[in-house]
């Protein structure tokens, strides 16, 4: 990680050296360089984040006067069944968006560990990565069609003799959430595979050769060499997919609007819905802050498995 090297180059060090080791001169002009970016950032993102924290301590319907309620909106994150469910659903999303693709991609990487050197790899990489660049609304409309009663999902099931379990996948209380989750798995698998294969390509070949000389089997080779060498890539894959799972909004908004019933409500959707349709702005702000804290904590935990930069 580059951040770990923040202190390595002392800013303006080269200037200092050229001037026989004096303390670096403060370059006041620097503020003029930073100011435009920082003002835009502060006005349209930074200050509103602080305001969100402030909103979360009030009850407000968006129009009338607001009432101070202290931490009540945060208590509701645990006591309000709808809100609690939305965070539990986010856990299910993490399983589908993150655990499934990362695990599957690791297994595949073990099987095809030398694929990065294949001819035509760049074509596969382009195709595997394609879902990342398509607008999520287009992804959503595509999967609505796939999950529709006459859609591809049911078509495949009928073709393999499972016609009895066909249904409108997004309209069923039991299947709507996993159905959205599988879209996440579809999004993640190609990304993880590209990431891991590029990581494996960087492992020195001699390591594998030495292991084979020692008679290590494929399994030991994977756990002894591949997996430890991929720690950095695994951390990146987990960060990306977990954050994507927790931020999921577009897919739910377009496919189910949280329904049927409450079965696909997610925190990001609850925050939107409460703020802009049901007039519970304070509660929405608390959900947003809760979600942000969750994202920051989980990404910080994931960073722990990332190897320290030893330069």
């Amino acid at each position: 990680m580059r951040l770990a090297t923040t202190n390595r180059t002392i800013p303006g060090a080269s200037t200092t050296r050229a001037r026989s080791g004096r303390r670096p001169r403060v370059q006041w002009k620097a503020y003029l360089y930073v100011l435009p970016a920082f003002v835009v950032f502060a006005v349209f993102l930074g200050i509103p984040v602080v305001q969100t924290a402030q909103y979360s301590l009030f009850e407000w319907n968006g129009i009338g006067p607001s009432t101070w309620v202290g931490l009540q909106n945060y208590v509701a994150l645990f006591t309000d069944v709808k809100l609690r469910d939305s965070f539990l659903h986010a856990g299910v999303m993490i399983f589908f968006y993150s655990v499934v693709p990362v695990t599957l991609a690791l297994v595949l990487t073990a099987v095809i560990s030398r694929a990065a050197h294949l001819r035509g790899m760049s074509v596969f990489r382009t195709l595997l990565f394609l879902p990342q660049v398509v607008s999520s609304v287009v992804v959503a409309t595509t999967w609505i069609s796939i999950y529709s009663p006459e859609g591809l999902a049911n078509q495949v099931l009928r073709a393999i003799g499972l016609g009895s379990i066909t249904r409108a996948w997004l309209g069923d209380f039991d299947t709507a959430l996993p159905a959205i989750g599988l879209i996440g798995s579809w999004l993640g698998i190609g990304l993880c595979l590209v990431l891991f294969l590029s990581g494996v390509a960087n492992i020195p070949r001699e390591l594998f050769e030495a292991a084979r000389m020692d008679g290590a089997g494929a399994l030991r080779e994977f756990f002894g060499i591949t997996l430890p060498a991929l720690r950095g890539q695994i951390a990146v894959a987990l960060t990306l997919t977990v954050v994507a799972a927790l931020k999921t909004f577009d897919l739910v908004y377009v496919t189910t609007r949280g329904g049927p019933g409450n079965s696909t409500s997610l925190p990001a959707f609850e925050a939107y819905n409460r703020a802009f349709t049901t007039g519970q702005v304070g509660s929405a702000a608390a959900v947003a802050i809760g979600l942000s804290v969750l994202i920051l904590v989980i990404t910080a935990v994931i960073q722990k498995i990332q190897p320290e930069d030893v330069e």
Binding site: M1, Q27, A37, G46, R114, L128, V137, R205, L240, K247
Partner: protein, 274 residues
Amino acid sequence: MRIARREAALNYLVLGVFSLFAVVPMVGVLLSAVTPTTDPQAGFHLPSSFDLGNFVEAWNRGQFSTYLRSSLTVTISVVILTSILSIFAGFAFARLHFPGKNVLFFLLLAGLMLPAEAFIIPLYYDLRGAGLTDSYWALILPQTAQSLAFGVFWMRNQFRTFPGEIMEAGKMDGASDLRVLWRIVVPPSVPAITTMCLLVAMWTWNEFLIPLIMVSSENLRTAPLGLAFFQGQHITEYSLLAAAGTIVALPIVLLYFFLQRRFISGMLNGISSR
């Protein structure tokens, strides 16, 4: 590296299956989009004839020319603003010395992780109070702020690796910092700047939540937002929706096919260096 034929075959099989898995939904969309409306609408069928009627129909029934124009306006504005502001700020963070530098940088960095929900709710009320909602400003400025977290970080990393001796030489010749930046540092950094522009363009083009909240006039709707409304009005007309979806996704997908190396390395490096 020599790879035994059997191993190569297995590799191709695995890669082929998963590449297919990645593109089948997309291919389905394309097929569905050129399927005449008399054919079955849902599912995966080879169209009985090649019919571009859905595109015409979608174009006319939705306001897609308006949506695309709006998306283009917003995307280009965000990309230009983000790159100029990020180049200046990234240069200062990488090369200049000033008090509070680390604090400011980490504040910006926090913006990389936060979900849009963390700032969009008060921002909506702030902008409404200022009479700015339902305008291009409400789309451009918040998305610029969001992109700046990435842009400044990206440019700083780029400028930190720039050889200091070359900049010193420029300064010896009496060039100002500003001149050094634009005449000496920026030209060789054009590839990194291009990658940043591509990623910001993609994120902005595909953004859904901010337009959903900030604009209500139909003529300001961006392409994904327009598509979401269009979907709501034509729920089961899958071929029509497929054509509309193709129109919305195509500009970025085309860019991606031409510049896929930049997209992939940008996304993987940009993210892994966080």
